[in-house]
Subunit: 195 residues, 4 copies
DNA sequence: CATGAATGAGAGTTCATTCAT
DNA sequence: GATGAATGAACTCTCATTCAT
């Protein structure tokens, strides 16, 4: 595949992403993508053979781009507490974002294409965030920033709370105030001196 | 609509439920329901005019049936701690159940049919469970069974954790062990004397 | 068929008439009639087996009722000219009436159920009106009221003009002014002293 | 749409025309057209989205083709009388033609799609023929070919007579002899020296 | 590589007609 | 007689997918 093809493929993925953001996963048809991309019906099939394949590549692209945003914002002299707060603020943003987000499409995708598959992007992300949090809490405890009786469980618990808010935001809606209360609750449970 | 019709309608709903369990919400067609019910194409339209309508009635039926299961199991002399434990065990069962559950379909439905509608069954259920938990914790604290610094937030936090596990179970999978750990974490955070 | 049945049949026909007035002939379904009549689906079939049959009976009913309206309005001492004028005014009313008229339905019916059938209600009506006009003109000529070079043809010609206006009114519309001009044209051609 | 598509579109219109000739307007379904054209179900939708659209284009095609037929037959040295006679002969042919004519379908179409719309093909045709006749009679009178007391009304009157015969032919039938008599009647009323 | 016309399977929906009650 | 539930044929419309150019 030449340079040009790579460009085109990328263009298709970026346009398709918008379609998935708009319509979720299941509802999207090859026709939708073709029309959004302004390419020919047959043309799309040269690059992708199903919406499933397209979506998987969209997610891959998405995760590559998103990975670094968080780490970029960490200052050199940041404390564990700083980093955790920053992380939770990022999560809050994502939870409350209702536009330009693939989250519904991703959930839908994993409903259809059941768990346990090796390249479960969602699982990978979840697990790696758990690890980051565990490390962070460990460091925070060592520094005396945090105090917790069940530190080992805290990281995973935080992730479930975040997931819970994420799905709640998508289905029954959630107010910013509620997200803030939960973040505070999390920080307090680590015995930080938040007010 | 006579007595017989009511029977048939119920039969359709029960059969349709199975279809939704199997295929989720969006994928289900009127044809699917027709075939599962072994009725004629036109026959279904005598009772329902869309899969959306069918699904909403299935949810209503489901919630009516489910409502009492929990309360039936509460013993006369149960402590707040007993009841909370029972509640969490019920939730655990639901979270881990991957067969015969409407959960994916419900999420899908609410992706498609956005929040804020008065008859948002999911929201109603969430809110009422929050209230139940709040009351329970309040009673538990009064009895000296629970101790917590942020009692007011605990109820809602528990719900988000449960929601988080529920969606996690559906998308990336969750092991029983993990659910147990979270339940324990919750109980410990209320300072019960769980070991 | 008992007295009661006769009543019911008449009720159906009257209601069905409204439906035909509203929707024309071809578009009307048995279902439409059933719903308009507030009777059961099966019930209608006890009396009629198709919309065609219903429509034919509606037309029969219609023609029976309409027959005498014209003759009732003729005064004892009316001249041929008076009667012709009265007739043309009646026709004008019918041509301009766009509500509560079966005319479109009737045309549609005869498009579908081709000419020459014995009981062609439209043909019968046309022919009898031609005869009435012929007689009228004959009398008028004898009385010296009318003068015409081609009297024998005049009657039929008038009928075609009226038919032409009738269909024009239904398809491309016609203004009252135009109808008046044609009526005047007809009267002048009979050399009446119309101004 | 390429050259080839234009060809195919035309082919569809020509085939569809036959279907409308055969079945009228309302009764024709997209399926009928698909089957008559020997194309695929979906194929037709690439070109047209409803029978209404198809029919309107069929009428447009028809009128374009018909426009010139009349004018082509007019000789250089034709008198007004010649032209009028030619015109009436053409009309006679059309009135008596019961095969291969769209007339019923057109009436049906305009029953359904009521008057006053700008692109009312029937109205346009009627009005322009009135004008042609008016001009013709004017010229004829100037030349001394015609004599008439109500020349201004004659043109429109002729059109109504023709329309009347046209609809009569379609509903209750008309014999050639009758058409001839009316044509003669018209010519005589213009005081031409017809025998 | 790219196009877009063409196909045909399949979903939604409506109704004439029947038939057990 | 009367009902209305049930059936199944027929129609509309949409798309994934192919293929000649």
């Amino acid at each position: 595949m030449g340079e040009k093809s790579v460009q085109k493929k990328k263009l298709i993925l970026e346009t398709a992403r918008k379609v998935f953001v708009e319509k979720g996963y299941k509802k999207v048809t090859m026709k939708d993508v073709v029309e959004a991309c302004n390419i020919s019906r047959g043309g799309l099939y040269l690059y992708f053979e199903s919406t499933q394949q397209i979506f998987m590549e969209v997610m891959k692209m998405e995760s590559q781009e998103a990975d670094d945003v968080f780490s970029e914002n960490i200052k050199e002299d940041a404390t564990a507490s700083d980093i955790l707060t920053l992380f939770l603020q990022e999560q809050k943003k994502e939870i409350l974002r209702t536009e330009d987000t693939l989250i519904q499409a991703i959930y839908e995708f994993y409903f259809e294409n059941q768990p346990a598959k090796k390249d479960n992007f969602l699982k990978h992300q979840f697990d790696s965030l758990v690890k980051v949090l565990e490390k962070l809490i460990e460091v925070g405890v060592e520094n005396g920033e945090f105090y917790c009786e069940n530190c080992m469980e805290a990281a995973r618990n935080i992730m479930y709370v975040l997931e819970g808010m994420r799905i709640t935001a998508q289905t029954i809606g959630i107010k910013e105030e509620m997200v803030d209360r939960e973040i505070l609750f999390i920080l307090k449970s680590l015995d930080t001196n938040v007010e």
